[in-house]
Amino acid sequence: MKRKDFSKLAISTQRTKEVNFNHENYVAGIAPFLRGIHSTMYVKKPWTIIQSTRFSTAEEGNTFYRKNLTANQKHISVVFDLATNLGYDSDYEHVQNYIGKNGIAIDSVEDMKILFKKLPLEQLIVSISINKAVLPILAFYIVAAKEQNIDENLLSGILQIDELTLHNTTMQLPKPPMRIISDILDYTNKHLPKFNTISISNYHLQKVGILPEIELAYTLANGLKYLKAAINSGVDIDSFATKLSFSWNIDRNHFIEIAKMRAARMLWAKIVKQFNHKNQESLALKVHCQTHNWSSTKQHPFDTITETTIKALTAAFGGAQSIDTNIIDNSNELSEDFSDRIALNTQLFIQEETNITNTVDPWAGSSFVEKQTQEITTKTWALLQEIEKFGGINKAIENGILNIQVKSNINLSIQEDNKLIRRNQLNNLTQLKASRNTTEISEALNNLAACSKTGNENLLELAIIAAKKRATLGEISNALENVFE
């Protein structure tokens, strides 16, 4: 056949979409932040890579952080053992099995100093997950920094006070009451301006089969609850809203998760707008994502890596501010070193090789993603209104408005013997207690206990004084008992 002449051939384009949505012209950097909270998102600066690993002792944690901190890795995430979370010292007999399990054991500021030894805390973002013992832990952190000559107003990080995380255990824990949270807010606003005070998570939700709108309504309603409580306790909306963030576990259903994150930003902007905000930033929903895989016991450990890669991409397309790709290998076939490396590489690979950070919200316009965004937004809003009608999230759950199940069992996966850790912690505690000025300690603790009744002073400020004098985690927690009643 004779060669055809293609010289006149031209492409023809069309300028209309198949379907249009009326939220499509919301952008990034301008409320309601559909396409991201910053106008250039990852084009200028990609999300923060977080590497959380579970250690049993402050020494182990310190070694890991020092080894892994680089120019690109400036974020560390700290998780404590159950005893610490519950507010008990390592010499308390009923928590002996929990010392050093699933997290670091901290008894006093001395342990915290070991954890952060020689770390440039003023350059790091430290995210601290803590529940009941939030006050002594935060006090230890601030004192540890000060004693390393780091000014507290340079400290930046996230305090993840997740009121339900420890519902995973069989023990029912009181959440830190609003009184403690507002004292923390008050103190951090004055002294730790770079610290994001509170992060609300959905980690504990039993997510199998849960509809995206229900999950989102639940999380946002929780955020709203905190907003209202903060305002009622006299905190300024802008100083609270800008310090609030969310922590989400990313699930399967790649594009629905992306749509959910986009919907969440619009809804949160709408929610905050009803209050008397002055700062635009107050309307921006900040989110930290983790890709933990809870159901991976039966899987090939390497399948977890594949799923983690997909989920990290999901979080990035959703516009997360930070992502944690900790790979939990329940089969114990991967070495810790290997897991850490591949978990970190997952994010480095996405940032450096896939070029997805070259443009903001790359999935915008997609007929599927935009439709999902619209549907999730509409349905979640309807649920949120219903929740409000019932008088808030707690009442709504009691009345069965949200069919939500909270995970019933925490996975205490580290089964190794903790004898050594226990002995170490006990020795240190005994030494510490022998070396302190008992009069000063009693005075500091008495002040704290008195304030917990009267509310005349700031609890965190008094906890810091007690921490300086070497009061222990358990002692500070005991002194605060009145607040928890």
Binding site: Q14, R252, G365, S367, W381
Partner: protein, 451 residues
């Protein structure tokens, strides 16, 4: 959506967004800070907006992608067993890599009449043997993947001779009017370092040699074998741009077709050091293939460069596709990209540039002619060189290879097959287009220094 959002917030035009960005940049230069120019000559903007929406209408298949397992036949029995196991795991398609004629009765034992899909990759051209296969497989879905032009490009020689090769195909086409006989192996160009625009253009020009020779009947008998790199959105877009252009040129033959596309990960960006990162690469490369709308996708082991095929690596690779298939949103996902501002724009730009190159090639005497002249080889080498310079300077990153190294890693004792063996030079008709891995030289040096 009801008005509960729209009554509270005003929309922003593209211009308003740009203004906000410029405000946030605090004096930094917009173009310098935020634009990315690629080797294709495409400029990626920091955002895409409905205001500038433009798209091509892409002919897209309706059926979901099929997972394919590649199996090299060394013994028929063993290959049969591997195929049987893969099918048990949920694989719907098998690609046999064939170095010499085989006993087809043994190979296909218990594999026929099961709604499976078979692909071949022959390293020889044997009319009688293939004719016999026709008979055995006449009721099956088969892709023979005969690509005499691709073989010339890759090896530098015809299987036998120009006339003979074309005659064999002509005869086989007479015998088999139903199945996919031919292929265009674009993966040759990708693995040698061609960019997405070049790949798209060369695929068209390469296919047009067959169309010119065999006429419009051949249009529905060619499978296109793509290799996927990790440049997520460009890889999605190149498949779509190609589908559009293929139909466009078929219009000149008064026919049309939804191109049949087979995709697998590229080897160009795979590494010996920190080889587990290859697993991350093959994950997103498979995702790009699915979203781009490939019909059949096969994956490769993370250790394929330096280990013999092994169950461990193959299982992980297979599972990656199975995991994606189970991911609800990756089922029938070929339409998800529709109307995505960024992808539609890039698709259009790749198509525009590829069409221009295709026209140039046709004007210059066609693909075969430019292969003989060495023009195609030179253009690919130029782009490969550009990428190599970027890799060497660290601008183009391969994690664990030229950045974020694991200094302690020694691989000397873990190499079963050396990826550095030099083939003896042989006489060729044209300059062959050979695969070039970005990290090869770096690895050779590092391996030498291993204690």
């Amino acid at each position: 959506m009801s008005d509960f959002i729209t009554k509270d917030f005003n929309p922003s035009s593209a211009a308003a967004w740009k203004q906000k960005i410029q405000f946030d940049l605090k004096g930094a230069d917009y173009n310098k800070t935020l634009l990315t120019t690629t080797n294709e000559g495409i400029t990626i903007k920091p955002f895409y907006h409905l205001d500038n929406f433009e798209k091509l209408k892409i002919p897209t298949p309706q059926e979901d992608f099929k997972i394919c397992q590649k199996i090299t036949i060394s013994s028929e029995k063993e290959a049969n067993l591997k195929a049987t196991n893969a099918i048990k795991n949920g694989v719907a398609s098998i690609k046999f890599i064939v170095n010499q004629p085989f006993n087809s009765k043994i190979l296909f034992k218990n594999l026929l009449n099961k709604q499976l899909e078979f692909h071949f990759q022959f390293y020889f051209l044997d009319e009688t043997f293939i004719d016999e296969l026709f008979k055995l497989l006449k009721n099956e879905t088969v892709y023979y993947n005969l690509d005499i032009v691709g073989n010339l490009a890759k090896t530098g020689n015809w299987f036998n001779s120009l006339t003979n090769d074309f005659n064999v195909i002509e005869n086989l086409l007479q015998q088999n009017k139903k199945q996919f006989l031919l292929s265009v192996d674009v993966n040759i160009y990708q693995n040698a370092g061609a960019n997405t625009v070049q790949q798209t253009a060369y695929t068209l020009a390469h296919a047009n040699e067959y169309l010119t020779k065999f006429g419009d009947d051949i249009a529905q008998k060619i499978q296109f074998n793509f290799a996927m790199g990790s440049n997520y959105f460009f890889e999605i877009s190149k498949i779509r741009a190609f589908r559009y252009l293929y139909n466009l040129i078929l219009g000149e033959y008064n026919t049309n077709s939804i191109a049949q596309i087979f995709a697998e990960p590229s080897l160009r960006n795979k590494t010996l050091y920190n080889a587990h990162v290859n697993m991350l690469r093959t994950t997103t490369e498979s995702m790009s293939a699915i979203l781009g709308g490939a019909n059949t996708i096969s994956n490769c082991s993370f250790d394929t460069l330096f280990h013999h095929p092994n169950e461990f690596g193959e299982q992980i690779a297979q599972n990656q596709l199975l995991i994606l298939k189970e991911e609800n949103n990756f089922k029938n996902a070929q339409h998800i990209v529709t109307d995505t501002y960024y992808i539609e724009t890039i698709t259009k730009e790749i198509a525009e540039k590829a069409l221009a190159i295709f026209k140039d090639i046709e004007k210059g005497g066609g693909f075969l002619h430019q292969l003989k002249e060495g023009t195609i080889q030179r253009k690919i080498a130029e782009n490969a060189q550009k990428e190599q310079i970027k890799f060497n300077s660290g601008e183009l990153v391969l994690v664990g290879s030229n950045k974020y190294l694991n200094e302690q890693e020694n691989i000397k004792n873990n190499i079963e097959i050396s990826p550095f063996i030099k083939r003896k030079p042989y006489k060729t008709l044209i300059i062959p287009i050979s695969a070039k891995r970005l990290s090869k030289t770096l690895e050779q040096k590092r391996l030498k220094n291993e204690t």
